[in-house]
């Protein structure tokens, strides 16, 4: 029987792929425990003298704890951005899924088309417009674009379609409930899993976003953590001393996100699949 044969070759190949996927992260982990001189003088994939504690305190203390500011900024931008986007997207998706109105098809088509657009394409036009109206540099220059995400609206529609039965809405209407009431107390609850998925996916996307902050922000204190790490690395060219901070800061920024993603895997995995398979 072919089925009972142990799949040795597949496993071997997969181990190889796994090594490729993991070793850069391993390098990051190992390197963050090294002093600057060990970083350059010892082999990258094996541990040397343990220096993690001092690296971490150095990273956190640098320039009056600016790293902690950056992490806080990332948390604020991601939370507020993803929350607003989720509300708007769930409402819009629900409206498109459950009401017939003129222009609905066109609106949905535009939504799908724009969900394929990469954010980078819009960064410059947004920058030009926002600098004209004086928004550049403020938190709004990030939040407002984050709130409008056609892909999340598309997800919102998919979730509304699949989780809110028409009969239930019909019954609630016959009972005399207003549409806002129906949305708030019935539909929103039924769509909660979808809403959480949208929130998580958008949270991650905003956390990782580099482009928009790079265009919009100029004050170091307002940077999210990825932009902060980039600006530190830029200084490596002048003073090599920053390498330690960049490496340790990178590791520290990855850990909370990874924990967040692994623990909520079920949600976002279904989200990216809905996006591509339908």
């Amino acid at each position: 029987m072919t089925r009972s044969r142990r799949p040795v070759l597949p496993i071997a190949l997969m181990v190889l792929f796994l090594a490729y996927s993991l070793f850069p992260v391993w390098w990051l982990l190992v390197s963050s425990t090294k002093s600057l001189s060990d970083l350059y003088q010892t082999f990258g994939l094996t541990f040397a003298h343990w220096n993690l504690g001092s690296n971490i305190s150095q990273t956190l203390d640098y320039q009056n704890h600016i790293y902690l500011h950056w992490v806080w900024n990332s948390i604020v931008y991601s939370t507020l951005g993803a929350f607003g986007c989720t509300l708007i997207s769930v409402a819009a998706g629900y409206g498109m899924a459950k009401f017939k109105f003129r222009g609905r098809g066109a609106l949905f088509a535009v939504t799908i088309g724009c969900s394929l657009l990469p954010g980078a394409l819009l960064a410059l036009p947004l920058y030009l417009l926002f600098s004209k109206i004086g928004l550049v540099g403020s938190m709004w220059s990030l939040l407002i674009p984050y709130w409008v995400n056609p892909f999340c609206v598309y997800l919102g529609r998919v979730y509304a379609d699949s989780s809110v039965p028409d009969e239930l809405l019909e019954a609630a209407r016959l009972d005399g409930a207003s549409e806002t009431r129906i949305f708030g107390s019935i539909s929103l609850r039924l769509m909660m899993t979808g809403a959480v998925t949208i929130f998580i996916l958008d949270f991650i996307a905003i956390w990782n976003n580099f482009f928009l902050p790079l265009f919009m922000l100029s004050g170091q204190n307002s940077f999210p953590v990825v932009l902060g790490l980039y600006s530190w690395n830029e200084q490596v060219l002048q003073s090599q001393d920053m390498t330690n901070l960049v490496i340790t800061g990178s590791l520290l920024s990855v850990i909370p996100l990874a924990v967040f993603m692994i623990s909520l895997q079920r949600y976002w995995r279904s989200g990216i699949l809905v996006g591509s398979l339908k």
Partner: protein, 323 residues
Amino acid sequence: MSIGTISAGADTAPASPAPSGRNPRRGGARRSGAAKGWLFNLPYILGFLGVYVAPVVYAVWQSMEKQMRSGLGFGAPRTVFAGFGNFTTVFEDGGFWSSIVRVILIAVVEIPVVLGLALIMALLLDVVGRRTAKYFRLGFLVPYMVPGVVATLIWLYLYSPIASPFVSAAKHFGTTIDFFTSVTTYFSLGNVLVWEQIGFNMILISAALQAVPRELFEAARIDGAGEARIAWSVKVPAVRPVLVFTGMFSIIAMLQLFTEPIILRQLNPGAISTTFTPMQSIYTSTFSDLNYDYAAAMSVVLALVTGVLAFVFYRFTTRRAAA
């Protein structure tokens, strides 16, 4: 009925010949449906106008100006209307076009590599046991959990002449590696992209495979097909739509390539110029040259090129699938 009361006046889509009497079910539902549908979409539509339509219109308009930014926009409209002048310059800008050709060349190599490897991994995950697959899948997803900036920073150090374990290993064996020659730069950059994207694509393909009815494989097996044959003739065609979708998505994304080269540039400014990719040209024009009009014109051209390429790719792949 309470449905129609609030929205009766705010009905945006004029109700088609509504019956003069109150038709409680059909007519009422439709009228209120129109208004409520728009109402639920109102924040989105307003946001969309503000964040998508207005900036694009503004960018197009700005791309047709030349002596721009005379303080206030109105009052002294002395800004020279350049018509398509900026676009003529863009079309004659050899550096810009070679950056577009460059990212297309990178895409032509990198995207098949990513999709091919992701496909192989997904197919492998499909033949090993479910529990084994679960752990491997999580491991393959690790790169997806690392932000692009951090991933590039890690590889930057892995390529660095002083900190790289590869370089020190090569030195141990008496050779040298240079990750930033005129040729290896492309592989170094491509490798970062492959590393970042492979896990995500693998998950997509893997999910598509799991959606295929198992009986199909069983039937092929009974017909005497081996695992490799089943993979090639049954599984690959089944995930074809996903491959087309991610392929198109990757092309669009690749044209906007920016983060990875601009960070790798910090290690070796000589190998990656400030106009290495079209987005870098736009960024440089905006923040180094302060030539906003020209940056806007390049953005418009890049958007058009993106649209055309995505369309061509889509037509090409769907026609081949139909043939």
